[in-house]
Amino acid sequence: MWSYLGRRLIQVPLVLLVVSLMTFLITRATPGDPVQIMLGMQTSPEAATAMRKEFNLDRPVYEQYGLWIAKVVTGDLGRSMRLNDRVTSLIAERLPISLQLAAAGMLFALLVSIPLGVIAALRRNSWIDYLCTGYTVLGFAVPNFGLALILIYVFSIQLDWLPITGIGSSEAIAGGPWKHYSPFIIPAVALGTLQTAMLTRLLRSSMIDILSQDYMRTARAKGLLPWNIVVVHALKNAMIPFVTMAAIQFGYMIGVQVTIEYIFAVPGMGSAVLNAVVNRDFPVIQGFTLVIAVFFLLTNIAADMLYALLDPRIRY
């Protein structure tokens, strides 16, 4: 298994090379001159030339790419054209916030989907099963930003229970755990509902499948207690696809966060990419896409590893 992990990790730089090449080509081939956008229309030609030189934009594309990659290898992602910050420090600022939001969304998804999926499978065609089906169907259908607006309207405006802003702000962090974490609740629910729907449906169907397996009958014939049969014999099997799916979905969540970050003014990765795209801030676009790709690849590898870890039949 370790050698499999090694082989997978070796492939990561290769994929990243293709990813970075693609971002590079897309940014350079599309219309819109970053220098013009940064400096405004009435800038002097000298200033523009100086900036072009500073960011190597006066060179051919392959040379730009070579210079950039050479620096990336040393851990330097360059400077933002607009904010004059290092891209790495921007990432250090925003990645933790995005990760926290994604983790909160996943936490919500796990907290809901595990009991709901299990109970729905155990009590098929009961009201809780119908609730489960209704919830998953709606979770798939309502886009996360629409759900966010509904939640804001109900829990923030009408009931005034939960705040909607304050993620990552200094006063929220200083104001104790509730002040710190309560702004995460609505965004996390809005973000995690699609994943909840997917995971609940997956868990329900795999539980139903497992409950009809012969070894479940064996477990009952042994006179084991019901909770033991469900938790040890059934859930342990059902967790194999479930955990894999959850890990893969976690990788996706950083990317689908854009709309949520936009609504709740969260200073995360998604909104940074959004701004960078609007401003043609090439170094930021390149750096952030690279980090997001790395994150996605690593969660995928983690998913495969978890799969092998949980299922004794799989050996790489």
Partner: protein
């Protein structure tokens, strides 16, 4: 005194198309230390009979009734589910058909044995482990100590069935039910498993219900045989009696379709034509009549009653097959 007493056992399943009478008034006794064969085609109700005794039939859609279903003097149908759980795996154990799928694939063999010992014998830690190793050795698994950490997929089919037997016998049950326990195995492995069960149960005086569609297997193992057809026992008798004087058209048919292992007789194998009847509608006459080769005129008029053919040998057949 008999260990198990079954009187008029009926198990029904509610389905969209009506009630299926899977077991339709089965009565028999099982003595202490006796090995009883339960033989019939698939769908004849033999597995459901076994599951009903263990009360493992899912309710609903299933529903079990009986005039009496007493085990060791206790009415099983009167027990609560919690009381029943205390019996299962402890005083009554079961081995299933497909050893490939009867063991949980994600738990180690050790775990699957130990959990029964924890549950019923309150054995823990080293004592439980010693007992588990001992059990695996008894059923003939080499390197028992290291094999405890292995997963089911690392065992062959025969070895898995040995593990299943070890689990079933772990708490010294008084009744062991084996449901087609050797059907999925090779012939040589089959013989080994049968020998193993014979040896282990004779030693401990365990009563066994051995379910099979194969008369040959039953012949080598059992003291007595119940032949089941369409949810009923159609013939019952000591093994020699039944083989020498099959007294029901169906038993005769079964024997005709069973290859003789010793190669004697030289008869051609004759399969039983047709299909078993639907168990939804009530069957007024002998349920085997449409497929019977030895029916007599009376068969068209009334349902056959039990007829004695010797000591403890009876059949519900109107034809005189002895002549």
């Amino acid at each position: 005194m008999s260990l198990l007493q079954v009187r008029n056992l009926r198990t029904r399943f509610a389905t969209d198309r009506g009630t299926v009478n899977a077991v339709n008034g089965v009565s028999f006794d099982l003595a202490e230390g006796e090995i009883l064969g339960l033989v019939g085609e698939s769908g004849s109700g033999k597995s459901v009979t076994a599951l009903s005794i263990m009360r493992l039939v899912p309710e609903p859609p299933g529903h079990i009734t009986a005039d009496s279903l007493s085990f060791d003097g206790r009415e099983l149908l009167a027990l609560s589910e919690a009381q029943m759980r205390e019996e299962r795996g402890s005083s009554m154990a079961m081995v299933f058909q497909d050893p490939m799928r009867s063991l949980n694939p994600v738990l180690t063999i050790g775990r699957q044995i130990l959990e029964v010992l924890h549950r019923h014998q309150k054995l823990d830690g080293a004592a439980a482990k010693r007992r588990a190793i001992e059990l695996l050795e008894t059923v003939g698994i080499p390197l028992a100590e290291t094999r405890l950490k292995a997963y089911p997929h690392q065992f062959s089919g025969g070895m898995r069935q040995r593990v299943m037997i070890a689990i079933a016998l772990s708490c010294n049950p008084r009744l062991l039910i084996a449901d087609e326990a050797t059907t999925a195995l090779d012939v040589t492995i089959q013989a080994q498993i049968i020998d193993l069960v014979k040896r282990l149960t004779r030693d401990r005086g365990t009563s066994v219900i051995w379910i099979s569609h194969d008369l040959g297997v039953v012949a080598g193992l059992c003291d007595r045989v119940n032949v089941m057809y369409a949810g009923n026992i159609v013939e019952s008798g000591p093994i020699r009696e039944l083989f020498h004087r099959p007294s029901h058209g169906y038993t005769l048919g079964l024997m005709g379709s069973t290859p003789r292992l010793d190669g004697t007789g030289g008869r051609r194998l004759t399969p039983i034509e047709g299909m078993p009847p639907s168990l939804i509608d009530p069957i007024p006459l002998c349920p085997f009549l449409p497929r019977c080769r030895v029916s007599v005129a009376a068969c068209q008029e009334r349902r056959p009653e039990r007829r004695e053919f010797g000591a403890g040998h009876w059949a519900t057949c109107l034809a005189d097959l002895a002549s």
